[in-house]
């Protein structure tokens, strides 16, 4: 019992918790200043998430890609790299899934499996390239990632437009039903919410992330490189190999985001001039979750639920849903600068500190 209680007193738990409350409060103050009703707004946010089984399912669907892109950013962070290129890896993943889903004819289970694997591999290769360029040429991964995002965007447009166009529209043709990973019976049960097997894979990915990072030799090397690459090199670790390997896994996580979106949700790719932004949301998720497996899972759940719920705010309380993006920003800000949170704590802590 004491052990459980001590978990709740730990800084790593208290600070995010207080940060979330402070973020929501700050959001309320801004709404109040803007002349809106914050209580009504948060009420309609919550009722949007829990309003019906359909909403609950769709909220879940919003959370799944955030878990994956959060993991993608987190694993790179732990090795000391900043993967700002998850957006590009998502695009390559969705492209891989789309190619297999539209161009091949396979029996149902096999088709989906093959599409997932190909999508993940394509995303992984796209990530590994960034790692390779950094390892071999010492070029900052931020700049390579940014270039790779744009190249992936236009490359995918080209391939879709030439090989898989849907006549007269700005999107690709649909994948075959045999490649779909939607869970038909559950979806029907939940009023048509687009629930898919990606949910299960995301949970497995969280477990994989934890075990890989903490229980394997490769994970140990990864963390060592992240803490001090010079020391890791001195200890005989092959730092370039670790970089490429890590970016491959990171890219696979990113690729799976795109794979799920194509195979489980949309079934096609729309030709947009901008990327989905899910990769950048992954940065927020991993930062809020402190780059740990359980942290990423929890923060993806929070950010995903808030994001989905915010759609109800403009309808229920006429508040622009963007306020929730601001709240998410505040929360990450407070987590990143715990000094601010402690500042608010100080008046309550005076008594206990007197003796020290």
């Amino acid at each position: 019992m004491n052990k459980i209680m001590s978990v709740f007193k730990r800084e790593s738990v208290v600070i995010p918790f207080v940060a979330i409350i402070m973020g929501l409060l700050l959001g309320a103050v801004i709404m109040w200043i803007g002349g809106y009703d914050p209580m009504l707004a948060y009420e309609s946010l919550i009722s949007k998430i829990f309003g019906s089984s359909y909403d609950l399912g769709e909220a879940l669907r919003t959370i799944v890609p955030l878990i994956m892109s959060g993991l993608a950013v987190a694993i790179a962070f732990r090795s000391g790299m900043f993967n700002i290129g998850v957006d590009g890896q998502i695009i390559m993943g969705s492209l891989g899934a789309l190619i297999v889903g539209t161009q091949l004819s396979l029996p149902p289970f096999l088709h989906a499996l093959f599409a997932i694997i190909f999508g993940a591999l394509l995303g992984g290769v796209w990530g590994a390239l960034v790692g390779y360029i950094k390892a071999k040429r010492g070029i900052n991964e931020v700049i390579t990632c940014i270039m790779f995002n744009f190249i992936a965007l236009y490359l995918s447009h080209y391939i879709i437009r030439i090989f898989m166009p849907q006549a007269g529209t700005q999107r690709s043709e649909m994948i075959h039903d045999s490649a779909s990973i939607q869970i038909g019976w559950l979806s029907e049960l939940m009023g048509g919410a687009r629930i898919h097997w990606g949910f299960l894979i995301a949970i497995l990915a969280v477990v994989f992330y934890h075990i890989y990072l903490n229980k394997t030799k490769w994970g140990y090397e990864l963390r060592a490189v992240g803490l001090n690459p010079h020391a890791a090199k001195y200890a005989g670790m092959k730092v370039p190999n670790v970089m490429v390997r890590t970016m491959f896994i990171s890219g696979m996580f990113g690729g799976l985001v795109g794979t799920f979106e194509v195979l489980g949700v949309f079934k096609y790719i729309a030709i947009n001039s901008v990327t989905s932004g899910l990769g950048f949301d992954g940065i927020a998720v991993s930062l809020l979750g402190g780059n740990t497996a359980i942290g990423v899972l929890l923060s993806a759940t929070l950010i995903g639920a808030l994001t989905y719920g915010s759609q109800g705010m403009s309808f229920g309380a006429e508040v622009p849903g963007e306020i929730i993006r601001m709240v998410i920003g505040f929360i990450i800000f407070f987590v990143a600068a715990p000094g601010i949170v402690k500042l608010f704590f100080r008046p309550f802590q005076k008594k206990s500190k007197k003796k020290v």
């Binding site: 070029i139 900052n140 700049i143 744009f150 490359l155 927020a284 601001m326 990450i332 990143a336």
Partner: protein, 317 residues
Amino acid sequence: MEIISNLLNGTLVFSTALIFAALGGLISERAGVINIGLEGFMISGAFFSAITTYYAETAGFGAFSPWLGLVGAFVFTAIFSSIHAIASIKFKANQVVSGVVINILAASSTFFLVKMIFDGSAETPLLTMVFHKVTVPYLSDIPLIGNVFFNTYPTTYIAIVLVIVLFFVLFKTSSGLRLRAVGEHPSAADTVGIKVNRTRYIAVILSGSIAALGGATIVLTSNSNFAFNTISGQGYIALAAVIFGKWHPVGAMLAALFFGLAQAVKDQLQIFDFAASIPNEFFYMLPYVLTLFVLIGAVGKARAPKALGEPYEVGKR
């Protein structure tokens, strides 16, 4: 000849916003504070320039309005960038995290405000008073150079002057030396009496304001209003230009010009007949592919300021 001169003219126009943002990023990073938030500061600058110009127009400032827009972008973003400064200097937050938060806050709050101010509309009204190209008499008649340098927007002139000023300040004055010292070896700088954190505050706040001018440039020259997609990734490209240009003002400008050139090449090439046989997407890809090749082939390692990303702690060596 005309094609080349149009190409170079387009290059300068495309590059201006990037030059501002890259210079902004460079100031902060030279002082040791990472600035991933360039995109957010450009969004903030675009928003505040649009709002300021809009109200200046209605208040009857006429052709003076876009100038006020520039000032508005600069001043208001200074307030906004002090968030990044306080978080990363006083509260020693992870600077990458703080920059990401800046991007999130800028995108969401400007869109929130636009909806609030303009009754749910997703963009500001079109501005009537924006910058127009200035054609310098006589000088613009010089072959090639005339069209390139003397037939362009006032913001382009400001950007170029700023590059020269920044180069001079950074490398020829004592305050520039102090700024660089703070980014390279803060404890040594402290020992000789340089106020490390104060220098960093100034650098980060200036950084945001100058990047904001880049956002303002896009609104006040090419777009004429502000919408959620007015700034879509230019801040990240400017970030690349800072690294590409090796944290040097002239280098950053050249990198920005390179991106602008690739953009302009894309636009100019599409005029030709043979271009019809090349897919559009390849033209769009061109700037980014070129950059990668140049980086991998020629430039090699760039060395960042030594203390980049490290909060300054007194007594630490």
